[in-house]
Symmetry: C2
Subunit: 147 residues, 2 copies
């Protein structure tokens, strides 16, 4: 299996990874959800080369996950914003955050908590079926090929 | 930021990626959740080199996500099983599957549906706060540094 073939893969995990299956890409998305929109900020926060960051941003734009917007005309300056497709990715980041907080605890370092924007209370993510409200675990749900 | 420093990162996204932030690793975990336990099966399904697969399995075992079990003594043969830490990763895969099914549709190829093991009904994953039941979106939740 070639990575550039992944998008035509029947498996949605593989297809999803064809868009975001790169560690820098996920960290770029993390920053986008934290309101970081500008190339220089991202580069400073992530400590990666301009080349790598530009490449990941270009791919995310091509995949319709980010869109580039002009925020200054002279000289022209762009910022990157999440599209609806990008915003819809949030649950993947949240479940990853929750898993890492529980199962890959930082060695002493300060960590990150998920809180309600409204009440500031910490929230604990749970994945449920929208129809029944039943919790989704590997014991209750499985992925089957669509007929 | 060096990838081998990621695990000591305060950011849980970065820490999570230090364990599973690799496309092959996620596809290996996908197979584990589908009940694939043996090296040869995984290699055949994924079409990767023994070297790469062995490396990813070793890392997942070292991270406590998979455990290796002897299933045959003469000659010794091992299979790979998800630990509790590995099983707890399921919501990340499910949210990725759901995102990809909606936002990275396969070009004509058959896809995968999430169904209830009990009723076989398709389920649609929704991420909620376990306490309040309120849906988690980028508008309602944010990640803040823990004091």
């Amino acid at each position: 299996m070639k990575w550039n073939n992944l998008q035509s893969e029947a498996c949605p995990v593989a297809r999803g990874l064809s868009v975001i299956g790169d560690r820098w890409t996920l960290l770029v998305l993390r920053d986008c959800f934290m309101g970081v929109r500008r190339f220089e900020q991202m580069q400073e926060r992530l400590g990666i080369t301009r080349h790598v960051l530009a490449d990941r941003l270009r791919k995310l734009e091509a995949a319709g996950v980010l869109r580039r917007e002009l925020y200054q005309r002279h000289p022209p300056r762009h910022e990157y914003r999440l599209t609806d497709r990008g915003k819809a990715f949030y649950p993947v980041l949240v479940t990853l955050i929750d898993w890492a907080n529980t199962h890959v605890p930082p060695p002493g370092a300060p960590s990150v908590t998920l809180v309600s924007r409204e009440t500031r209370d910490p929230i604990s993510p749970m994945l449920v079926d929208a129809k029944t409200g039943a919790q989704i675990t590997h014991r209750t749900v499985r992925a089957v090929p669509t007929e």
